[in-house]
């Protein structure tokens, strides 16, 4: 069974479901067996959110078994750390340097974890990190964070660029197609020559 497992994590409202759906659709139009699993309702209200995408020869479970994720796409640092246990040994993390401090934080007894990237590296994972919000803001639209990250992920995925573009076109609001494709390319270029 040859299956690629990608886990998206972040905070409700960061566009995790959209990002995971774009990957799912891209795998689908590229001819793979694919499943995606998401959560709605109470879980979405600013809480910790994950979304599972699996594609390959034949996918059965819509959920990734723990310790079997090839990629963890973390749109937020704490949420990256929280779901690292899903990764296989030496798995890949695409880490967005974004901190969304939850209301439960207490600097003395319950602090926000520091240096998440080093923590993940010390666990043996390969980490590509980026400040997607900075790039998104430079582009004038803070909502592009998820698509920039997807651009980075695309370097590792076996899909042709036109499949990505077609999927993005069909998945984002018509008025934002061009800027989303631009954001995707910016993300993709970040890893140019690195892998």
């Amino acid at each position: 069974m040859d299956i690629t497992n990608v886990l998206f994590s972040g905070v409700g409202g960061q566009g995790i479901i959209l990002a995971s759906k774009i990957l799912t659709r891209c795998a689908f139009i590229s001819g793979y067996s694919v499943k995606e699993s998401e959560l709605h309702g109470m879980a979405q209200r600013g809480g910790s959110v994950i979304s599972h995408v699996r594609f390959g020869d034949e996918v059965y479970s819509p959920l990734i078994p723990k310790g079997k994720a090839d990629f963890l796409v973390a749109l937020e640092e704490l949420e990256g750390l929280r779901y690292a246990y899903y990764l296989k040994p030496y798995g890949n993390v695409i880490l967005n340097h974004r901190k969304v401090i939850p209301f439960t934080v207490n600097p003395a007894s319950n602090p926000y974890p520091e240096d998440v990237k080093s923590k993940l590296i010390s666990m043996g994972f390969h980490v590509d990190s980026v400040n997607a919000m900075e790039i998104a803001n430079e582009m004038g639209n803070s909502k592009l964070e998820n698509i920039i990250i997807l651009g980075i992920l695309s370097r590792y995925m076996p899909f042709i660029i036109s499949a990505w573009e077609k999927t993005i076109r069909e998945s984002v609001p018509p008025k934002t197609i061009e800027i989303n494709i631009e954001a995707f390319k910016k993300g993709r270029e970040l890893l140019e020559g690195k892998i």
Partner: protein
């Protein structure tokens, strides 16, 4: 990689696939009340079906409306979340006796793990309780196919048929082959008092009729092949129900599998499977219904009763990892996530509820009985002002029950949609039985938690068309409330003063906190912008 991609194949969420199945099966109406993870069944139908699709005021009304359509000879689907079936169960238990005319499918989505629910109840019990057949798909394709099969079986047996899903089927996306859309049934409303009127003179005969159908239901299951054994002669097996099959397949060739997708099950099939096994696992979401049967025929059965699998939460693909070689979670990736800073869900920035809770906290009620919706989050920090949450509509009744024991300054908090769903009888009861409570109705112009569906108070239907509009103030007035005030929760100080006054006032005092959910406001602004930009220049306001 799949070699030939079918052009007729699309990716669909399980809920969408059920909606598509219902449309292909030739429904004439779909009814529902929003509830995670079932909501998207109706939203799909409302968007893609030209005929009727309605948000009913509650699940009982939704089912009764669907029964009406069935009496008119038409096919109808009624969808809801698991706890919604508690509300609709009154209608369900007796319609099973009476029987239906046009096909009637009840799609119920369970939430094992209670990701967005107040409990983890297993709807298969209701199918058994009502003695109706139940399908349980494991992915979107099966969800669509079984919805269509359920309609056919419904008309063949004259029974409502249940389709049970769980979160990981309803909210998982996978490919579905689209089929052709069957023609709708012709209108055929005929009086059939012996089978439409549940009075004592008919009940026992109707019950007998239902009992006699049971054998037919089991036979239908046998012929359908929906429950089947995949055998390679191994001595280890898994009985996999619904989504359990997807998890069982993760363990590759280690086990023979008995796939269960239909109830009532043929016990002989289970017996045949377990008899030859040295070890049998039962993977079923919810209660150990099949495990109990399997244990009658073998002492090698492992699952929830025997204790290896947790009775609590959902199964997941790791359910057997501990017991199968090579499936342990790698040590170097384990992380003590228990000590990590938690991130529970919270009210959105700018949420009108948060402002109201600020005022309510300052007004300091003795006890606040909450209800089901986004505003339940008022129980969490920083508000911690909601003291109880049980089920839809329970806030007002519980507040009255507490106040009647002599407790002063008791408040109830209920959302606009929940109030319409089941708060009205509780309000009438509080007035009638002379409770002294403050009732806060949080009117944010939507059923927000489930994705901002419209309510009767907005006068917009599930299809986005103009419907009848109901006035909250007029309902409260007609229920005989002592006083009714409407406030804007953004005016925190003014609200606090009013709440203090009303907490100390006798009678059933209502404060309507009115401000649309921030998402609804945004959407309305967009719609407005659109309609302005579409207008010819000369018609623009000066």
């Amino acid at each position: 990689m799949r070699e030939n991609q079918d052009n007729n194949e699309v990716l669909l969420l399980g809920d969408y696939a059920i909606g598509r199945g219902a449309i292909e099966a030739g429904i004439s109406i779909a009814t529902s009340y929003p509830g995670t993870p079932a909501t998207e069944i109706l939203t799909y139908i409302a968007k893609h079906f030209e005929g009727d699709a309605e948000w009913s005021v509650n699940e009982k009304v939704a089912l009764e409306t669907a029964i009406g359509a069935s009496y008119a000879g038409k096919r109808a689907i009624c969808s809801m979340k698991h706890v919604g079936l508690n509300v609709a169960s009154d209608a369900l238990m007796t319609i099973a006796y009476l029987g239906i005319k046009g096909g009637l499918v009840l799609a119920v989505a369970d939430d094992p793990g209670a990701y967005s629910s107040q409990n983890e109840q297993d709807s298969r019990f209701y199918a058994k309780f009502a003695k109706i057949p139940c399908f349980e798909p494991c992915d979107s394709q099966e969800a669509k196919d079984m919805t269509i099969a359920a309609f056919d079986l419904s008309e063949e047996t004259g029974l409502p048929v249940m389709l049970r899903t769980v979160t990981r089927v309803s909210h998982a996306e996978s490919p579905v082959k689209l089929g052709r859309i069957r023609e709708q049934n012709p209108l055929k409303l005929e009086k059939d008092p012996a089978n439409m009127i549940a009075v004592p003179s008919n009940v026992l005969r109707c019950h007998e009729k239902l009992i006699k159908k049971q054998e037919l239901l089991i036979k239908w299951g046998q012929n359908s092949g929906l429950n089947k054994i995949n055998s390679s002669g191994r001595k280890k097996g898994i009985i996999a129900c619904g989504i359990g099959y997807a998890y069982a397949k993760e363990y590759g060739d280690n086990f023979d599998i008995l796939k269960i997708s239909y109830y009532p099950v043929d016990e002989a099939l289970i017996k045949k499977f377990v008899k030859k096994m040295d070890e049998v696992w039962v993977l079923e979401e919810g209660e150990p219904i099949i495990e109990e049967i399997a244990r009658k025929y073998s002492n090698k059965v492992k699952g929830k009763i025997s204790g290896e699998i947790s009775m609590i939460g959902e199964l997941g693909p790791d359910v057997l990892s501990k017991y199968v070689c090579g499936w342990k979670i790698p040590e170097n990736t384990t992380l003590d996530t228990g000590t990590l800073l938690k991130r529970p869900p919270a009210l959105c920035p700018g949420c009108p509820h948060s402002k109201l809770y600020e005022a309510l906290k300052s007004a300091n009620p003795t006890f606040t009985a909450g209800d089901i919706g986004c505003y339940t989050l008022g129980a969490s920090p920083p508000y911690q002002i909601v003291d109880t949450c049980l089920c839809m509509g329970a806030g007002i009744s519980k507040a009255a029950g507490i106040a009647k024991q002599g407790v002063k300054r008791v408040a109830a908090v209920i959302g606009d949609s929940t109030f319409i769903h089941s708060g009205i009888p509780a309000l009438i009861n509080a007035v009638y039985n002379k409770a002294n409570i403050l009732v806060l109705i949080l009117d944010n112009s939507s059923t927000a938690m489930t994705g901002h569906q419209p309510t009767p108070l907005t006068g917009i239907t599930a299809k986005g068309r103009e419907g009848g509009k109901v006035s909250l103030e007029e309902i409260c007035k007609a229920c005989g409330a002592t006083s009714i005030e409407v406030i804007d929760p953004y005016e925190v100080n003014k609200t606090e003063t009013l709440l203090r006054e009303k907490l100390d006032s006798p009678g059933v005092n209502i404060v309507i906190s009115r401000r649309p959910c921030v998402f609804v406001t945004r959407r309305l602004a967009k719609l407005k912008q659109k309609s302005i930009s579409c207008k010819p220049a000369e018609q623009k306001a000066p």
